[in-house]
């Protein structure tokens, strides 16, 4: 019994190993992908999502780019709906050097980054302390919980008119709108971080003579750090999502404004180029945050 099992495992690891074996059918291949499968030494049997996926992702991305390239250069799709990658690249260069809608790409990017990262910095210095306060103090929790839980699920577009009525159409209302979308997830993450502290660590600190303030500073803040960093990653994501809404009204420059403006005139290549630029900036920032996580909280998940 165990001998046959071992043979099966060997066959599955190297299906091309024995020449007399006929190649597996498509159904068999699919079964293999979705079965728990035999494992190589060093892997654990039945672990969900076992194995590497980077190569598959690379193939997916390349295939999509190729499909985009082929369908557009062959002329099967009207460039108004989907311009070719070459046209988008050309437009990228043009907007970079000459500009679009009275501003160059760098100016658009600069304005948007200033708004998003300004709101992010504001949220960092307000949402994190408030979230921690909510975690350690019942009065703060009672005070802020209903406010945050009420507005958190609202789409920013729903309260955008109110923000404009209150704060006007200038820079302040744009930053505030983005700030509000970042604030809630960041505060709630900080609060959850406080809740995740092991009570043994707190007890140990008190038994070593810690004051309440020392427990907050040396135990609770440190313990909450992984979740605060996760909250920052989630928060900045919400920030970029809200950017386009914020730049809908009375903006002179900005990536969201550029995309909206281009859409009005059906300049589809600028629309796509703007989306790609926003995507790349957001992705780079996320990589930076992951690097910071590895450096700042190497104990996470251990």
């Amino acid at each position: 019994m165990s001998a046959t099992k071992a043979l099966d495992a060997k066959a599955a690891i190297s299906p091309a190993g024995s020449p007399q074996q006929s190649s597996p059918t498509l159904l068999q291949r699919l079964k293999k992908i979705f079965s728990a499968g035999p494992v190589m030494p060093g892997e654990s049997y039945g672990a969900p999502g076992r194995g590497k996926s980077a190569a598959i992702s690379l193939v997916t991305a390349s295939a999509l780019l190729l499909l985009w390239f082929v369908t557009t250069t062959a002329g099967w799709i009207d460039p108004m709906f989907l311009p070719s990658p070459v046209a988008v690249l050309a437009r990228f260069w043009e907007v970079l050097t000459e500009g679009f809608a009275n501003a160059t790409l760098l100016e658009h990017t600069g304005w948007s980054m200033m708004r998003v990262f300004g709101a992010f910095a504001l949220a960092l210095v307000t949402a994190v302390p408030i979230g921690i306060l909510m975690g350690v103090n019942r009065v703060a929790r009672g005070l802020f919980d209903p406010i945050i839980e009420f507005y958190r699920p609202l789409p920013p577009l729903a309260y955008l008119p109110l923000v404009i009525i209150w704060l006007g159409i200038g820079e302040v209302s744009k930053v505030v709108l983005i700030y509000m979308s970042i604030f809630a997830p960041m505060a709630l993450s900080a609060r959850a971080g406080v809740r995740s502290v092991a009570i043994e660590q707190i007890h140990a600190a008190y038994s070593m003579g810690a004051s309440r303030w020392q427990v907050i500073r040396h135990i609770i803040l440190k313990s909450a750090l992984p979740e605060i960093l996760t909250g920052m990653r989630i928060g900045i994501g919400f920030g970029w999502t809200t950017l386009v809404a914020a730049e809908m009204v009375a903006a002179q420059a900005g990536l969201g404004f550029m995309v909206l403006n281009a859409a009005e005139f059906l300049v589809t290549d600028v629309v796509i180029m703007g989306i790609v630029v926003i995507g790349i900036i957001a992705y780079l920032f996320d990589m930076l945050m992951r690097y910071a996580e590895r450096k700042l909280v190497p104990w996470k998940g251990k």
Binding site: E200, A204, S207, M208, H218, K222, V297
Partner: protein
């Protein structure tokens, strides 16, 4: 000399959602003398951990009070009693060090930073606290691991750090809440011997909780056996197997002595009797 005294203490937990109240500890009267190694043994739910939490100051008793030397340590209003109490300490304090089963080390600090943490809280200068922490790390056999991250250490080594950390703070007593409970059998025996050496070296009062009868007999100079519903102390034994080990340095020999085996069977029958009476495990 400062002894720890528990005076007529009861602990009643309120019923959950209006349910029945739980009497976790009932009428405990009990003293730990300086230099004693007291071990509490009993079935689950007998109130061992509640008793330790009381001593540590993590909870206050429903009735009665606790004193350590001249201080009342239960966090309750000062009682009028025969003893002249000079001082009052609310809740936990650095004179009562605690070693937990696990999860109590700080993963953002390395081994020596964890060990000196208590001194740092009290504002002791870096050079001095490093030196004191290093001496206790040497005592627990971790002199070569000062800069290791604690989350990369084995369970046994983590407990060594926990013990060194509690000792570095120079408490009057150590409260050990099943400190070896999560370790494998071999590591456990090594650390039992280590703890006895530490006890001999430092002469601290020890209060040690365990589920293991053999461990209890081996470690205790006084063994208390507790019984559930309501939690109370039912038996007390004066033992000297720990002294015998410190003399002969042969744990296997001590644990296979006829007296040890006889004692083990007696204690086991007491505990099994409790479990049979309670009908629960």
């Amino acid at each position: 000399m400062s002894r720890l005294q528990i005076h007529d203490v009861s602990v009643v937990y309120p019923g959950i959602n209006g349910g029945e109240q739980v009497r976790a500890l009932s009428d405990i009267n009990f003293t730990i003398e300086p230099g004693e190694f007291v071990v509490a043994l009993g079935a689950s739910g007998c109130g061992k951990t509640t008793l330790l939490s009381l001593m540590a100051g993590f909870i206050s008793p429903t009735e009665g009070y606790l004193t350590l030397g001249d201080s009342q340590i239960d966090g309750l209003p000062r009682v009028a009693c025969g003893v002249d109490l000079a001082d009052q300490i609310d809740g936990p304090g650095k004179e009562r060090g605690v070693v937990f089963q696990k999860h109590a080390l700080l993963p953002w600090l390395n081994v020596i930073e964890n060990t000196e943490f208590g001194l740092k809280l009290q504002g002791v200068g870096k050079a001095e606290r490093r030196q004191r922490a290093a001496s206790f790390l040497k005592l627990v056999g971790l002199e070569d691991f000062h800069r290791h991250p604690v989350y990369q250490l084995s369970g046994g080594m983590q407990q060594r750090v926990g013990i060194a950390r509690a000792l570095t703070n120079d408490p009057k007593m150590l409260l050990l809440d099943e400190p070896l409970g999560a370790l494998d059998a071999l590591t456990r025996e090594v650390l039992q011997e280590l703890l006895l050496d530490v006890w001999k070296e430092t002469q601290k009062m020890m209060f040690f909780i365990t589920h293991s009868v053999e461990e209890a007999l081996f470690m205790a100079s006084r063994l208390i056996i507790m019984s559930p519903r309501p939690g109370r102390i039912t038996h007390e034994f004066e033992l000297d197997f720990n002294e015998r080990f410190l003399e002969c340095r042969d744990a296997r020999k001590v644990k296979s002595m006829p007296e040890f085996i006889e004692m083990r069977e007696q204690v086991l029958s007491i505990i099994h009797g409790d479990e049979a009476a309670g009908g629960l495990h």
